[in-house]
Amino acid sequence: MSITVIQEANEIERTIRRLAHEVIENNQGTSELILIGILTRGATLAERIATEIGNFENVQIPTGALDIVLHRDDLKMSGPAPKLQKSTIPKSLDGMTVVLVDDVLYTGRTCRAALDALMNYGRPASVRLAVYIDRGHRELPIRPDFIGRNIPTAPNQSILVELNEIDGVDRVSVIEEEL
């Protein structure tokens, strides 16, 4: 197995800042906007994007954290089911523009589960998808609206996003398994 670091803290900070600008540009401001991150690292990224938006728009953007485990399509397949975490969605999503945030977009199945989970909280006016890394290999018709970086990967590669709040370091790496 080999690990190649492709982004470090200062680059990650710049990328998050750009994502924050893109989100409010696309939304034409901050009204009715809520950022909801998929637990665990998506939720941390959502907080960071919201903080950036807060810094240059001088508003507090509501954020939420979504656990998608109950909505997965592979719970009955072999292997232990994941532990549940508590979702925190601060308000009804009726009429809101939801920006769903995750660290890595791969097959699209996590995102599908997240869309399913969101519908338990109301009827958003629209849902957008922001991902830090798009690594390709989609299995469902799902497409991100905001992308931190595109990293096309081979089947034996995967992406590791580490965030300071959780991992003690900001770093993005490509992990390559020996074939």
């Binding site: 072999s78 292997g79 994941p82 890595v104 109301g122 995967s158």
Partner: protein, 333 residues
């Protein structure tokens, strides 16, 4: 060294696994600390699911839950049914009076029939102690004991402990007083085993005829259990007061001399609750005989968490259904 598990959610093995390997839930005595923590963390998440504007998922689509009750029940049965439906399971309810049990079908045959028609999880209540254990040996379905005779009622104990944690935080070192008919109470027994595992200090209080001998006989192994007939001593410095239903039907057997004497010595009312800590919570597994084991004022007072117990009962049962429906049978060593 970093591992792949942190960011890639496309494979089930890559998130932190919920390691639930048990086939059945027969009593809290079988559970260890890690089991309790997993159940309580899962319940926390389920509380949030219950609070969603649309509190329904399809997680257990394709899972069939059968409830089989040989005794009456309001809360336990209804909360299992609501829990199953909230997670998208199919729920079949059978009671002894409506089923072929009335025609003389045995418990084992009934359990096998339910498995044959597709039940994955079987919730069983039976008047005989040990019925769930017996049933679990004759079926591949997961058996959840919803009360067997005087033996155990683990889901009630789990919801009681969860409610205590919710109100008071950690259980370790807390003084929990259980008052009333301990001898005949499966709720008390399951609570005692669970509380011991979680490190609580337990005081059992009631008339001598309603206190099991076991705890005084095994005092050296059970140092965290105190037994007393004196309610004042029992309630002093208590964090939690658990009242039990006074099984009035047993009074005819002269187990207690008179109801009025019991009320005078053991009722939890405004006067007696004042002996516990001012922050103490009062619990009751239901159904409440207001005016007997507990006064109406205390049952509905600000220290009462009785309705929280019922609400938490649904979330606890959702957590158990999730853990059983997704349990691992081929977990790598």
């Amino acid at each position: 060294m970093p591992t792949q598990s942190k960011s890639d959610k496309s494979e089930p093995t890559k998130s932190e696994p919920a390691i639930w390997l048990r086939k059945d839930l027969l009593d809290t005595a079988d559970l260890n600390l890690a089991d309790f923590n997993l159940i309580f963390e899962t319940t926390d998440a389920m509380i949030e699911v219950r609070e969603r504007p649309i509190a329904r998922t399809t997680t257990l689509r394709g899972t069939t839950l059968a409830t089989l009750f040989y005794e009456n029940s309001t809360r336990t049965r209804a909360s299992f049914e609501i829990a199953g439906k909230a997670l998208g399971a199919d729920v079949v309810n059978l009671s002894a009076s409506q089923s072929s049990v009335g025609k003389g079908e045995s418990l084992i045959d009934t359990v096998r029939t339910l498995e044959a028609i597709g039940a994955d999880i079987l919730v069983l209540r039976h008047p005989l102690s040990g019925a769930s254990t017996l049933a679990s040996k004759y079926t591949n379905a997961s058996v959840i004991n919803a009360g067997d005779g005087m033996h155990a009622h683990p889901t009630q104990a789990l919801l009681d402990l969860f409610t205590i944690k919710q109100h008071l935080g950690e259980l370790s070192g807390r003084k929990i007083v259980i008052v009333g008919d301990i001898l005949h109470s499966r709720v008390a027994r399951s609570n005692i085993w669970a509380l011991l595992t979680l490190g609580a200090q337990i005081t059992l209080c009631g008339p001598a005829t309603l206190l099991p001998k076991y705890f005084t006989q095994h005092k050296s192994d059970l140092q965290n259990v105190t037994v007393t007939t004196n309610l004042k001593t029992a309630l002093s410095n208590a964090d939690v007061v658990m009242t039990l239903r006074l099984q009035k039907e047993r009074q005819r057997n002269s187990i207690i001399p008179s109801l009025s004497e019991y009320i005078r010595n053991y009722q939890i009312n405004n006067d007696t609750i004042a002996l516990a800590k001012s922050t103490a919570i009062v619990m009751h597994p239901g159904p409440v005989n207001a005016g007997f084991e507990i006064s109406q004022e205390v049952a509905e007072g600000k220290q009462s968490v009785i309705s929280a117990q019922v609400t938490n009962g649904v979330a606890i049962r959702m957590a158990l259904l999730y853990l059983f429906a997704t349990r691992t049978t081929d977990f790598p060593a």
